[in-house]
């Protein structure tokens, strides 16, 4: 490889690093993403220079197909579906790394009849394992997120034992793969096992734990690229891959902390299934309902409002009508803010994107730590499709499965209105005692429809 190509790879690595750095500031983020894209272009161009011109038809054909699919999907996707899209793309990245590793293995064994050295073999096997897990794991996550399969955890007896057994046999067969390189059977078994492990580790994880799973799979897709870098002896893959790997791990940690659970606890799965027993037989909660008109009158009379959005807002697509509500309130001089819990939605920062889409200024979205003391001085809190993240049981009831999870102190406000489809329980399967509090009122119905009515009432009130 020529020096020029190596320098181009170095330039690409620097552009990725600067790009990620700029993603840390809202005003520079878009430029950061552009720079990172330029880095990718540089890396691609530098690689093309080194390649055989005879294969350019296949290369451009494949890139045209892939580019068209990617662009189409990126333009068409709804903001509520971003978590699914990221899950699916993580999976593609994983499968791409796996395919490159396999391709390299077959090239060396079948075409060039080379001996694969131990380091190379370990890199190929690592890439197959991580890439395979990333691929099927992401596909399962994608299916769960778009509702094609149930978001409920799927558990069975001996599940963890099976996973352990699979991983151990993977190690054994890895040794055979190295020893009998020319027999394609062993590496094929490895691929099949990696794909199976990916499915098995994601099915026991429930829908609301998806923020953790997506972050983790994001990290894996980076690590898979890293492993591929070791196969090809290529630094730019390692730099880019480890940046992504680190990013995914940090997001995973943040998500786990916000749920007060360890990563192991999330990965073992089955959360929310066994909590019905014990500590749940207190008196039934008595709730108070509120109608649309009264809600509008309440909004008309207060001076400060905090909205707490949750996944339910995304499902109901209520973000746009909430902006209209905000406009009505601001016309009246009411202080209007949003409180964002770190695990609200199905991926980190999901609510922020939805509200940005609805054209709500990002300085109105306040993080949990920054806003939690304000609730006590707030007249009205509107909770839209959030449940566990406002359940005071997390503070008060050591019996509760969500005890210890940091929550938004919605209950401290003067009045709380909960917009909710029905009295269903939250993801954790726990009764929300907030609903029985004297300052809490339930506004039943589809969030988009009821809030639309509230807004038109407010318009009439002037």
């Amino acid at each position: 490889m020529t020096i020029a190509v190596q320098l181009a790879y170095l330039l690409a690595s620097i552009l990725f690093i600067i790009g990620i750095k700029l993603l840390g500031k809202t005003k520079d983020a878009r430029r950061g993403n552009m720079l990172s894209a330029v880095g990718m272009l540089v890396a691609i161009a530098a690689t093309l220079i080194t390649l055989n011109i005879l294969s350019f038809i296949e290369i451009f054909g494949c890139m045209l197909v892939g580019g068209a699919i990617g662009l189409y999907y990126a333009k068409k996707v709804e903001m509520t579906q971003i978590p699914e899209m990221v899950a699916l793309f993580n999976g593609f990245g994983g499968l791409a790394s796996l395919s490159v590793a396999l391709s390299d293995h077959f090239l060396k064994t079948e075409v060039l009849s080379l001996e694969i050295d131990p380091v190379n073999s370990v890199s190929i096997i690592a890439s197959v394992l991580i890439g395979g897990i990333t691929f099927t794991g992401s596909i399962v996550a994608w299916l769960k997120l778009n509702g094609k399969i149930s978001g409920q955890p799927i558990t069975f007896k001996g599940q963890h034992l099976l996973n352990l057994a699979l991983l151990l046999s993977f190690l054994v067969i890895s040794v055979f793969t190295f020893l009998y390189q020319n027999d394609p059977m062993y590496i094929t078994i490895l691929v099949a096992m990696a794909l199976l492990v990916g499915i098995l580790i994601v099915i026991p994880i429930g829908g609301a734990d998806m923020p953790v799973v997506i972050s983790l799979l994001n990290s894996y897709s980076g690590m898979a690229a890293c492993a591929t870098g070791f196969i090809l002896n290529n630094n730019v893959l390692i730099v880019a891959g480890s940046l992504v790997g680190a990013s995914g791990i940090i997001l995973t940690q943040i998500m786990c902390k916000a749920m007060n659970r360890s990563l192991t606890n999330v990965l073992l799965g089955g959360f929310g299934q066994t909590v019905a027993a014990g500590g749940q037989d207190g008196p039934a909660i008595v709730i108070k309902e509120i109608g649309v008109e009264e809600t509008a009158m309440l909004f008309d009379s207060v001076s400060s409002v905090i909205v707490i959005p949750g996944y339910g807002m995304a499902v109901a697509q209520a973000q746009h009508v909430i902006r209209e509500l905000m406009e009505q309130c601001e016309k009246r001089g009411i202080d209007f803010k949003f409180a964002i819990h770190p695990v609200a939605g199905r991926m980190p920062g999901h609510m922020n994107v939805l509200l940005a889409e609805a054209n709500i200024s990002y300085d109105k979205l306040i993080e949990m730590e920054a806003i939690n003391d304000e609730f006590a001085n707030t007249d009205l809190v509107l909770i839209v499709g959030a449940n566990d993240v406002v359940n005071p049981a997390a503070r008060t009831n050591p019996q509760s499965p969500i005890y210890g999870m940091p929550i938004l102190n919605a209950d401290k406000a003067k009045t709380v209105i909960v917009s909710k489809r029905s009295m269903g329980k939250g993801y954790a399967g726990v009764e929300n005692e907030l609903f029985g509090y004297p300052n809490c009122l339930m506004l039943f119905g589809d969030a988009k429809q009821t809030i639309t009515k509230v807004v038109s009432e407010l318009k009439e009130l002037g």
Binding site: K27, N33, M40, A43, F92, V100, S103, S247, L251
Partner: protein, 95 residues
């Protein structure tokens, strides 16, 4: 691969990971979704490997087909990832 070049790769891995941790801890929660889709696009760097695999001579070998598959997938990842991240970031406005 020689031991020397392996050591260099490990150096790069460790330093880049450390740098990644430092940079990403500073990203505010508001930007976590674009961060994830943007880093997802970066993980499409496998495209470099896919290009090399596709260009191998000796037509119609399994190796080449796997390279082509990888190339399509990695391109979806790269193009789709950057495009959707840009679309999202365009919406983040302060009034």
């Amino acid at each position: 691969m020689t031991l020397e070049s392996l050591i260099i790769l490990i150096y790069v891995l460790v330093l880049a990971s450390y740098l990644g941790f430092e940079l990403i801890t500073k990203v505010p929660p508001t930007l976590h979704t674009p961060l994830m889709s943007g880093s997802n696009a970066i993980s499409g760097i496998t495209i470099v490997g896919a290009l090399i695999a596709t260009s191998e001579l000796g037509f119609s070998t399994l190796s080449k087909y796997l390279g082509m598959l990888a190339l399509i997938l990695a391109t979806i990842n790269v193009v789709g990832g950057y495009a959707v991240t840009d679309r999202m970031l365009k919406m983040f406005k302060k009034k």
